[in-house]
Amino acid sequence: MSQAPIVLEARGITKQFPGVLANDHVDFDLRQGEVHALLGENGAGKSTLMNILYGLYQADAGEIRVNGNVLTLNSPRDAIEHGIGMVHQHFMLIPVFTVTENIMLGAETDHRSLKSQSPLVKLDRKQVSQIVRDFSHQYGLDVDPDAIVGDLPVGVQQRVEIVKALYRKANILILDEPTAVLTPQEAEELFRIIRELTARGVSVIFISHKLKEVLAIADRITVMRAGRVVGATTPAQTNEHQLAAMMVGREVILSVQKEPAQPKEDVLVVENLRVRDVRDLEAVRGVSFTVRAGEILGIAGVQGNGQTELAEALTGLRHIESGTVKLVGRDLTNASPRAFTQTGLAHIPEDRQRHGLVLGYTIADNMVLCDYYRPPFSQRGVLQHQVLDDNARKLIRDFDVRTPSPYVAAGKLSGGNQQKVIVARELSRPVRLVIANQPTRGLDVGSIEYIHKEIVLMRDQGVAVLLISAELDEIMSLSDRIAVMYHGQIVTTVDAKAVTREQLGLWMAGAQPETA
C-alpha cells in the first residue's frame, strides 16, 4: 500500500476559531486507493480539517496539495473541481426530487464541463440517469435513478450521496461519520461499497469516533485530540483499548459497570399506543410495554422507526391517537408536558438544542427550564435570582459542567457540557421515570462514560428508565431488557443478557423473531 502515490496531502494546517485552536499544525495524507480513517472525539478537530480540505473553511496556515500541486480551496466548488467529494453526516439531498435530479443538482449541465452553466440549459435527465445506472453497476451501488429520494431508506440515500460525488468526478471521497444513521447490516453494505471503490482507485477518508468500525475498514488510522494529530497507526498494530486511550488521552472503561437489576413495581405502562408523525402518517402502530422501577428498558431500532414519535407521545409533546399511557398509576394519555413532569418524569430529549435548551439563555436559566415557576425558584410570580444562582452553582459542581460561570450562554458550551446541563436539570429533582432519548449522541467518550454512570445510578435508586438509542452498543451495555422497534411496532422484547448484536441487528432490519 505504501507504494501507491499520495493523492492528497495537508501540511501544517492551523485554524483558529474565537477561543479555540481547532487545528494545530495538522499533517495528514491520503494515498491512492486506501481508506485512511480519521479518528477522534467530537471537538477534536476532525470536521474542521475536513471542512478545510473541502473548501468550506480556509486554513490560517499550512498548505494543501492534490496530486502534488499546491492548491487554494476557496469553496466546495474548487474542491469538487480537483476531485474531492464529501458525504456529509446530514445528507444534502432534496427529498421530493428523484435520485437523478438530486445528482444533477448544482451540476445541471453536461457533467464533463461543470463550469459552463447557463440557467436556461435543458436538463438532460436521460443521460444522467444512464450515468447513474452505469455507476451503480460498476461499483455495486444499487441505486434506482428514478426513485424519489424521500422514499428511499437512509442507507440508500447515502449511496445517492456517493454517486453524486462520483458523478462530479471525485476520486477522493470524504465520508463524515457515515455509519451514524445505519443498521449494522447497512454498515456492512457500506463497507463493501467502500472496498469496491478503493479497488478501483478511489481514495477514501473515513471520519469516525467508533473504534470497531475504524479497525474493520481502515488501511491506516490517524487519531486527533484537541486539534492535534496524536498518533498514526494501522489496524494490525493496534486494538480498541489503545485507540480509545489515544483518543481520550487516558484509559477509559469501555463497558458500563453495573449490578443485575432489581426491578420492582410497574412505573410506566403503555398500552396499544398509536401516534401519527408530522406528515400525518402512523409512526407508532400499537405499541405496548411496561417499565418497572429499578430497571432500564432499552428501545433499539434504526432511526426513523417511530422512536421519536413514541418518546414525544410519552412526554406530552405529541398527540396520541389511541391507546393509554399510565405513569405511577395515573392516566396521562394526552396530558400536557407539565402534567408529566409534575407526576415524576425526567426527559432527556433527543434533540438537545431544539428541545432541551434555550441556547441564548444562561446556564442558570436553563437549569430551571422546567421548574422556573415553582418555589423556591419563583415566589408569587417573581423569579428569585439568588436561588437560581445557588441552584446553578450547585448543579454545575455536582454534575461537573465545565464552564467559567453560571452566566455563560448554553449555546457557548460544548455538546457534552450542554448535555450535562440537561442531565443535571432533569435528574436533580425527585423523579420516578427517566426517558432518555439518544442521551449520548455526538458526545465525546468522557461525557458518554459520565452520562451512562448517572443513568445506571438512577436505576439503582429505584427509578424506572426508558432508554431510546440508535447506538446498539449503548443499548446493549445499559439495558436490562431490550425492545426492538421496527416500522412503528415492537418486534420483540428480550433479556439484554440473552441476545447477540447480530440478532438485534436482524430484528432492527425487519426480520421476524421465531415464535418459540
Binding site: P337, P349, V358, L369, Y372, Y407
Partner: protein, 377 residues
Amino acid sequence: MQTVDDRKSQSGWQQVLRSAFNAMLVPFLAIFTAVVVGGVIIALAGGNPWAAYLGLAQGAFGSARAWSETFVWATPYIFAGLAVALAFKGGLFNIGAEGQLAFGAVATAWVGYALPEILGIEIPGILHLPLAIGAGILAGAIWAAIPGALKAYAGGHEVINTIMMNYIALNITSYLLNGPMKDKNPLNVIARTPEIAEGARLPVIFEGLRVHWGFPLALLVALGVWYLLWKTTLGFEIRTVGANPDAAKYAGINFRRVIIVTMALSGLLAGMAGAVEVTGLNYRHELGFSIGYGFDAIAIALLGKTHPLGVVLASILFAGMRNGATRMQFLTQIPVDIISVIQSLILLFVAADAIIRYLYRIKAKEDRLVLTRGWRG
C-alpha cells in the same frame, strides 16, 4: 483556568456594562453612518450638511421648548415601541400597533367625552382619567389578543393578521369619527370627536410647555416592561417562547396562552400610546393624527434592540429628528423629507447589520434577532 468564584467578583457591573456596550455598538454606528450618508445627500443636493445638522440639533434640543416638543413626540413612540419590542421578545411580529393605537385612542376619547353625558354626572378626575386610559389600553389589548388567538389556535400568522386588522381598525375608526362619534359642533367639518372632559386630561408638567405627564409615565412603563420580562415568571415564559418555542413546549409552558398574553400585553402598550395622546395632548381623537406611530414603532423597536432602555433612547432620537426637522428646513431650506431618508437609512443599517459589521470590522457576538417565524413556528 479561573474558578467560578473568581469570575463572580468580576461579574456584576463590568459584565452589565460590557453587554450594554456590545448591544449599543451596532445601533450607534448605524446612526453615525446614516448621518454621514445623509450629509452626503444634502451636499449633493447643494445644501450645507453642517448647517442642516446644526439646525436639526437646535430644533430638537436647543431650548426648553425644543426639549418639551421632543418629549411630546417621544411619548407615543416609547409606548408603541415598547409594544413592538415586547412582542418581538415573545417571538411575535406585531405590525398591528397602528390599529391597536387607533382603537385605544377611540375608546379613551369616548370615555373622556361621552361617559359623563351618559351617566349625567361629572366624574371626578381621580376616577375619570384612569377610566379613560384604562378603556384605551383594554381596547388595544383586546384588538391585539385576537390575532394572538388566531395564531395560537388556528395557526394564522400574526404578521398577516395584524396587517389586516389594521385596515379593519382604521376604517372602523374613520366611520366612527365621521359618524356616531363626530363632534356635533355645527362649525366642525373635521372627522374628530368632541373634546374630552377636563377631568380626563393628563396635566402638563410645566406651565407654558406642552410636555405632559404622559412622558414620565412612558418612562415608568418602560421600567415596568423591563421588570416584567426579566424578573417575573411570566416574562421568563414570554422570552422562552420567543427564543425557542420547542424548548418552551418541552418545558411545559402553555405556549398558546403565552402567545395570546404576549399579544394582549403588546396591544395594551400600543393602546396606551393612543390613550395618552388623547388624554395628554389632543384632548380628542382626530382622524389621521396618529398615522405612522405604529409603523415608526417597528423601526424604534429594532433600533432599540427590543430592549426597553433601547426603545426609550431610540424614541427620543426619532422624536428629536422629527421635531428638529422643521427648524432645519426654516434655517437652511433643506426639506424635512431628508429626515425620513436618514431614519430609513438607520433602520436599513440596523436591520442589515452585516453592512455595519463589515464597514467597521465587528465580529458577530450576539445571536441574531428572530423577526418572525414561519407558519409552523
